[in-house]
């Protein structure tokens, strides 16, 4: 997972106004390396991707470099392929399932952290930090080991619990099972960041609000729905957005564990784009798929932001 500092709400005192107001070329000199880097390493690849997606660009064109423009033919081809729509549906399911689980569990863990005594809280938090610090590749390898068919500890536990059918069960040969393991893996990796951020936000809610609610005899559920959630709505929204982005573009976990298989059971959009480009050597189609993914992501987030904006406007 991207290691971003958990500081979405900047509540530090502003030390503005910045002191210098006179016209000068200094600021532009200072940001010029950033602009050059962004232009070459972000905008240029993005533009290349757009161009490639409207060209015929396979291995021969990669070698000879005489790609021909074909208009929207690649998009037409991708969009008319039932397989693409199956991948889109799977990506939506995968993202929704993961994000719902992540938000639900993180909220519960954060609520728990608020109520714990000092030592237990420290214990749980250090456990969460440990998970957060586990590199994706290491975590993915560990999950392969946990679910290993003959020696894996998960199968052993299941058999001990009386589920005899799990003896030597090969998780990674079965589509839904592999899908489920990937969900567990991603949820396990994502909960710490979300839970710790939510906990940090919950601590900032003024305790008078809670006291007032308790005086009115509100139960835990009512306190959460009437106070905690409304006060922290923006924070919940932000974390949900971040998780949607991270889950939808998750590539490494899926690629290392299953490469999208077995069959196509775990092929989500990023994996699909890569498969098409790499194994079919159709870089044009891969580029079209990844452009469509970016568009879908932007649409989903825009819709979400609009709804959030409306809710804020009403209340």
């Amino acid at each position: 997972m991207t290691a971003t500092l958990a500081r979405p709400v900047d509540d530090r005192p502003r030390t503005t106004p910045p002191p210098r107001r006179r016209r000068s070329w200094w600021p532009y000199l200072l940001i010029s390396p950033t602009l050059v880097a962004t232009a070459y390493l972000l905008l240029y690849p993005l533009a290349r991707n757009v161009v490639m997606s409207v060209q015929e660009f396979g291995l021969p064109q990669l070698v000879r470099g005489d790609a021909r423009f074909t208009g929207l033919a690649n998009y037409a081809k991708v969009l008319s392929d039932p397989e693409f729509w199956a991948v889109v549906r799977r990506t939506l399911l995968f993202t929704a399932l993961n994000v719902v689980l992540i938000m639900l569990l993180s909220t519960l863990v954060a609520l728990l952290l608020v109520r714990l005594g000092r030592w237990l809280r420290l214990l749980v938090m250090s456990g969460l930090v440990l998970v957060w610090a586990t590199p994706v590749i290491a975590a993915t390898t560990v999950f392969q080991w946990l679910f290993q068919s003959r020696l894996g500890v998960v199968n052993w536990v299941l058999v001990e619990l009386g589920f005899e059918s799990y003896r030597d069960y090969t998780w990674f040969a079965d589509g839904p099972a592999t899908f489920a393991i990937l969900v567990v893996l991603i949820v396990w990796q994502s909960v710490p960041f979300a839970a710790l951020s939510l906990y940090a936000a919950m601590v900032t809610v003024p305790s008078e609000l809670y006291e007032a609610a308790r005086m009115d005899g509100a139960g835990a559920w009512r306190v959460f729905t009437r106070i905690t959630f409304p006060v922290l709505r923006a924070m919940f929204g932000l974390i949900t957005c971040l998780e949607v982005i991270w889950v939808a573009k998750a590539f490494v976990q899926i690629w290392v564990i299953s490469q999208g298989g077995p069959g196509q059971a775990t092929t989500t959009l990023p994996v699909y784009a890569f498969q098409v480009a790499q194994s079919l050597q159709r870089y044009d189609l891969g580029a079209a798929v990844s452009m469509l993914m970016v568009v879908l992501l932007v649409l989903a987030l825009l819709a979400y932001f609009r709804q959030l904006y409306r809710q804020e406007g009403v209340s």
């Binding site: 532009y28 290491a138 784009a273 790499q278």
Partner: protein, 273 residues
């Protein structure tokens, strides 16, 4: 009273669920092969061996992959630190036309789904003869870490009062001297924290490393090596888990260091502010 018991149980369950996979990894790394292959797993380190770590370290290319990862991650972080510090200074301390637009650009860049750019980056690397070079990987990681380095450094810079700098200017320091003598020492913890985060990101990156280094297998980085490890070693789970542990170790150390530093950085800033 029951609520208290319930919370304690819940806390222990959360802790166990979070920690178990990592515990199982480290435990397996130290278990003798016969314990790993036993029908009944052992959950405590009853007998300990270092042979799996030996296997992992002795594996072909281990040291060169370790060095590659260090070079690439370190290079990317240094580069993005210098570039980001300049930009963060411009954003936090100076007022200029286009400042808001620039901040917006940085935020958008931070949200970029990098995996969507695998293919064009591959093609560009190939066109410019940068495929299979650690340079290209360094540049990509630099760009991946740059936006959040700017954002966080801007935050740390904004926390340092301008008055301190102004005072130094009044005392006859030049702008550069004021920055070096007053701002820089206060910014040091922030710089450290930010660079460590960048380092972790680059250290862990897999997708680009997997795509950009193809022909020259000696130029691979640790994550790619680790992902192919269980294939190379067949079913040697002890060695695989030892390799994973070794791979995770630097990140874990960084996190431990980081926690203290960030706190001192922030509280220090608060006290002085």
């Amino acid at each position: 009273m029951t609520g208290r018991v319930l919370r304690t149980v819940a806390a222990l369950v959360v802790f166990a669920v979070s920690v178990f996979p990592v515990y199982w990894m480290v435990l397996t790394a130290f278990k003798p092969a016969k314990d790993i292959q036993a029908a009944t797993p052992t959950f405590l380190p009853l007998s300990v061996t270092f042979e799996h770590f030996g296997t992992a370290v002795a594996a072909r290319g281990f040291w060169s992959f370790w060095r590659n990862s260090l070079l690439v991650a370190g290079g990317a972080v240094l580069l993005s630190l210098v570039v980001a510090l300049l930009a963060a200074f411009a954003v936090a301390r100076l007022r200029w036309k286009g400042r808001r637009g620039f901040i917006l650009m940085v935020f958008v860049a931070q949200m970029t789904p990098w995996e969507a750019l695998l293919i064009p980056v591959y093609v560009i690397a190939r066109d410019t003869g940068m495929l299979d070079t650690l340079w290209m990987l360094t540049l990509v990681y630099f760009m991946i870490t740059l936006p959040f380095t700017i954002v966080t450094l801007r935050g740390f810079l904004a926390a340092i009062p301008v008055d301190l700098e102004e005072a130094a200017l009044v005392d006859g320091c030049s702008r550069a001297q004021a920055f070096r003598r007053v701002v820089f020492p206060l910014l040091a913890p922030g710089l450290l924290a930010t660079s460590l985060f960048g380092f972790i990101t680059a250290w862990n990156e897999f997708a680009f490393a997997n795509v950009l280094i193809i022909k020259d297998q000696d130029d691979r980085t640790l994550p790619v090596w680790l992902s192919s490890f269980s294939n190379t070693f067949g079913t040697d789970w002890g060695a695989t888990m030892a390799a994973s542990t070794l791979f995770m170790l630097p990140v874990l150390l960084v996190f431990l260091v980081l926690q203290g530093r960030v706190t001192t950085g922030i509280t220090g800033g608060a006290v002085k502010g």
